[in-house]
């Protein structure tokens, strides 16, 4: 069974690119645009890892991440956003909520690498 990743971003093209990057490396991806869809997807098919944007159409990404932390406590959460935060400040103040913070210009290979690290894998793919 392939590792399941839940992607949450309100921009379609961004969702598609991240999903393609993960799929090429053997992951199974579910892409959603809103917080409501993300909660629904997590209930139906609990993910192994969550990648979430900060600014969503219907709510704040941090609120969503707090709810998902309760719903799927074992799944690491990566905040991937174009809103530039000081990485040290972000990781310190959000340490209880997120597992990693990555600004959006970060290379996709780095995003996947971080996901692998959080999932405790040297290579992506099947469980």
């Amino acid at each position: 069974m392939k590792t399941h990743i839940l992607l949450v971003d309100d921009e379609t093209e961004i969702r598609d690119l991240i999903a393609l990057a993960f799929s090429n490396r053997g992951y199974r991806c579910t892409s959603v645009a809103t917080g409501r869809e993300a909660r629904q997807a997590a209930r139906n098919d609990p993910p192994d890892l969550i990648v979430c944007d900060l600014q969503l159409e219907d709510e704040d990404g941090l609120v969503l991440l707090a709810d998902l932390k309760e719903a799927v406590p074992h799944a690491p959460r990566i905040l991937l956003t174009g809103v530039l935060l000081d990485p040290k400040v972000a990781e310190t103040s959000l340490a209880g909520l997120i597992s990693a913070y990555l600004p959006k210009p970060t290379r996709l290979s780095k995003v996947v690498e971080e996901a692998n690290r959080l999932l405790g894998r040297s290579a992506p793919g099947a469980a």
Partner: protein, 396 residues
């Protein structure tokens, strides 16, 4: 225009084909020679057979002639003794038969000069004897009266018959000699034909065996070449698979790079758009300038304060819009904005005058923050605010 020459086919296969064609041509030639030799021998055998038959007929005819001559002599003697008309008739008849047979002998002896001459001599003697016999027949009346025949000295018939018999014997000897020659020649021809046929057969078997060996060699060579070709193909296949895998890897890498490029472009666009939103949402007018104090960007608040439009401001010197307020500090040293930018210093709450579209001036305070890329000043940001009475900025 000369047509290009087609190179001659020198492949091993064409060499083998040529060799086999040559071998089969020789086989055909040998068979033809055997056939010609056999046909010639058959023709010679027929001819020889005719000659043998003729010679035997000659001998037979000569013998018959002699027999009839002897009968004629016997009939003559009897007639001379008895005077019987029967004997006379028998003698005449025998002489006619003899005449008939000598004609046959002469006809049969025509083809050989010696035989022809011998037959001529026999005919001469025979004619003489016939003449003598007819004379005797006519001299003796056929009254049937018996008379004592003449003794051997008075009768030339026996010596004539003996001479003729001798000549006939010589003729027979000539004919038999010729038969011997024919037999020898026939035997020789038969041997030649036998050797030709068996030799030709042996040669053909050898040639066909050689052709078979060539074909076998050719098949073996083709099998070896096919094996080499298969091995080369297998190597080529491995090489192709290797190259295909390389190409697929490179293609995959290129796809990944393309993906990263698209992502980077999108992320940066997103970032710029967000930054613009932040800047454009500020209440305070913001002017972004280059190192040489030319305007590169303004926000909506500035356009609202001045009534100017953005395209008209781009690349204009900020000093056409802003100037230090009279009495501001540092004016004796030069334009404070220019000095601050050249020295990479900030200015805070510096009194200045902002000129609008209608050339009206408005007192403001400005804050200048140089933008740095490492150690270099690459531009600056000017933020304006409403002037507060009594606000002055010392050079910092």
């Amino acid at each position: 225009m000369n047509a290009p020459k087609v190179p001659a086919d020198t492949s091993p296969e064409s060499h083998t084909v040529r060799s086999i064609v040559i071998v089969f041509s020789i086989v055909v030639l040998v068979v033809a020679v055997m056939a010609v030799a056999s046909v010639r021998n058959a023709r010679r055998a027929v001819l020889s057979n005719d000659q043998v038959n003729r010679t035997h007929a000659l001998i037979g005819a000569a013998g018959d002639m002699l027999t009839h001559l002897a009968a004629a002599e016997a009939a003559l003697r009897s007639y001379l003794a008895t005077g019987s008309p029967y004997d006379q008739t028998a003698c005449r008849q025998a002489l006619e038969d003899t005449e008939e047979h000598i004609s046959v002998v002469q006809a049969l002896a025509q083809e050989d000069a010696d035989q022809r001459a011998q037959a001529g001599r026999i005919e001469l003697l025979l004619r003489q004897r016939q003449e003598a016999t007819r004379t005797l027949l006519e001299a003796r009346p056929s009254d049937g009266t018996a008379r004592t025949p003449a003794g051997p000295a008075g009768d030339p018939g026996i010596s004539a018959l003996s001479s003729i018999a001798n000549e006939v014997g010589r003729l027979r000897s000539l004919a038999l000699a010729q038969l011997g020659v024919w037999d020898t020649e026939n035997y020789r021809q038969a041997q030649v034909t036998r050797w030709t046929v068996w030799g030709g057969l042996g040669l053909n078997i050898a040639l066909l065996g050689g052709a078979g060996w060539l074909v076998r060699n050719d098949i073996a060579a083709r099998r070896r070449r096919a094996a080499v070709l298969r091995a080369d193909n297998a190597e080529l296949k491995v090489e192709v698979e290797h190259r295909t895998a390389e190409v697929q890897t490179i293609s995959h890498q290129l796809e990944e790079e393309k993906l990263e490029e698209r992502w980077t472009t999108l992320a940066l666009e997103h970032q710029v758009k967000y930054n613009n939103l932040v800047v454009n949402s500020l209440r305070e007018p913001v002017i972004v300038i280059t190192k040489l104090l030319n305007i590169s960007r303004v926000n909506p608040a500035l356009l609202h304060w001045t009534g100017l439009n953005a395209p008209g401001l781009m690349n204009q010197s900020v000093l056409t819009l802003l100037r230090p307020a009279p009495g501001a500090t540092g004016l004796e040293l030069g334009n404070p904005l220019e000095l601050a930018m050249s020295e990479g210093r900030e200015l805070h709450d510096y009194p200045a005058l902002l000129q609008d579209r209608l050339q009206r001036v408005r007192p403001v305070v400005l804050t200048l923050v140089p933008l740095r890329d490492g150690d270099r000043v690459v531009g600056g940001v000017i933020i304006l605010d409403e002037s507060r009475p009594g606000t002055h900025s010392a050079l910092t």
